[in-house]
């Protein structure tokens, strides 16, 4: 469904919007500096629910840094981040994840010496055995949770056609399979907003399309996604809207078709 170029709403207007269109995440004047280097400078965006929002830009534009700031992996130097109506700016990454704001990483970040199934289980919340006391109380105390989560993880493996790899070490997987494990792992937290950092980079072309299929299916299930990616044809296919960053700032936002009409954006990034 085509949307207008102003699909990314201004933050103050968010409260006036109907619930379905109220932004799930609002970043307001967010900056991140490293010893004087302005990696992200005064970025304000809204992420609308139930959509895949694309974040594109040339290398060094600050996209991954911005994603890390949104997820809490890096603290913001200034600005505020509101998720689901709550200010999460000062929350550490693990608390944001528990609220449903979950990210993947630009470089493969699988738990290498854990099996694929364990990678998924390690991310699963609400396991009574996932604490010192719970662990010491023994298997009887946490077995029911474990069995339930194993079933959930196996359902995800089925969905992503990775069942045969269940007991393989994650380190033995191909680049594309590792990306899928990362996405499945994030899904174990039942996120409300999934931040994907270049999930198609270094991946075989045949899997790129499948990752896009999975993203669209997840969106259709109601998941909101913010994706950083260089595969522009996939961004064009999946994302609505698309935000363009360059030199740490947002230089445009809208549909890909609309962005292609903007000369400064084409010059900055969309050459070819």
């Amino acid at each position: 469904m085509p949307v207008e170029t102003d699909a990314v709403a201004a933050t103050p207007a968010a409260a006036q919007q109907p619930l379905s269109q109220r932004p799930l995440l609002v970043a307001t004047h967010v900056s991140r500096h490293f010893d004087g280097v302005r990696a992200v400078e005064d970025v304000s965006i809204d992420v609308l629910p139930g959509r895949i929002t694309g974040l594109i830009g040339p290398n060094g534009a600050g996209k991954s840094t911005f994603l890390a700031v949104l997820a809490g992996t890096l603290p913001a130097s200034s600005g505020t981040i509101t998720f689901d109506g709550h200010d999460v700016t000062s929350l550490p990454a693990f608390r944001r994840a528990r609220r449903g704001l979950v990210r993947t990483f630009q470089l493969p970040s699988e738990f290498a010496q854990l099996t694929v199934l364990e990678n998924l289980l390690a991310a699963a919340p609400h396991n009574r055995g996932d604490s010192l006391v719970g662990a010491l109380l023994g298997k009887r105390y946490w077995r029911a949770d474990e069995d339930r989560l194993v079933a959930e993880a196996r359902a995800l493996l089925d969905r992503f056609r990775m069942t045969a790899k269940e007991s393989d070490y994650a380190s033995s997987l191909s680049g594309g399979q590792k990306r899928l494990v990362e996405i499945m792992r994030a899904l174990m937290l039942q996120p409300r907003l999934l931040l994907l950092d270049e999930p198609m980079s270094g991946v075989h072309p045949s899997i790129i399309g499948e990752i896009a299929d999975y993203c669209e299916a997840l969106r259709d299930d109601g998941l909101t996604i913010l994706i950083v990616e260089h595969e522009l044809h996939m961004i064009e296919r999946m994302c609505d809207p698309v935000i363009v960053m360059a030199q740490g700032s947002v230089i445009g936002q809208g549909t890909m078709a609309a962005l292609r009409q903007q000369r400064e954006i084409v010059d900055a990034y969309l050459v070819g």
Partner: protein, 329 residues
Amino acid sequence: MTYYLTTVLVYAAVDILACLAISLQFGVSGIVNFSFIIFQAAGAYTAGVLSLPKDTANGGFQTYILGLNLSFPLPWIGATLVGALLAPPIGLVVLRRLRSDYQAIAMLVLSVIASLVVTNTPAFLDGAAGLALVPQPLSDKFNAYSDGYQWAYTIGSLLLAVIVFFIVQRLINSPYGRSLRAMRENEVAANALGKNAVAMKMTVFVVGGAIAGLSGAILVGFITTWAPSTWLYPETLILFAAVIVGGRGNNYGAVLGALLVPVGFEEATRYLPPFGPPGLIPALEWVCIGGLILGFLWFRPRGVLPERRRVFAARPNPVEVGEQHAGGN
């Protein structure tokens, strides 16, 4: 012969406890605690000053704090608690802000500082001379020099090692253990998946500290002396060597490593015919320990008994596995 056997076995129990703690911290959780020996020393000193009488009681030939003359098992409980309580202040300084490689350096330095502080403050724990005549547990009720006592002490020590083995085993085979291993593999990713890595590291630090404290109490209760020369930082390296050789993250590997390196290695060199100038054999021991670490890290980095792969029970209703993702990038 009884004395020799019981000594070897008590040392084995102490080293097994220490290796289990290091395996939990380093092997399972990825914390390179080069200050480990401080925790064992803290336990030994605590057990010592809790079981010794006031330092004026035996002619004042040694000076130390407390001297509470407590009966067994209070000194051992105190030692375990002090080992645990020492972890938060060190952990808060080292584990919260530093990256893992800097953590290792900071802890190594801490180990050296602690040794120098104790050595140069004689009024605290009798300085370089250290504590002596530490009463053995229940020595007021039994003859501590009898074979029966020696064997009872040995069996008690080994029993404690077995109990701790099962506790650590329960811990690492649980979902919490899985989270610890995930943190070891990629702390940033674990954090981004809702794991409070700092809290997990602190917890493991406290548990490991408690085990180390207990191991120190067992040792000082047996040898009845404790001085800075017994807990220099290289002692930590021997324990790390044991865990690397035995197999990181595998409790059976930790036990094997404890028996092979600190116990077996030291005992084997005892039977070498003397050769070269005095001190050559101990120096060569260190060369061999270093070579052992390098050799295993190079050729068998996961040790003799590697961490086992966790395979889950088959599905109750197996699904037919259709077309799966290919292995290409």
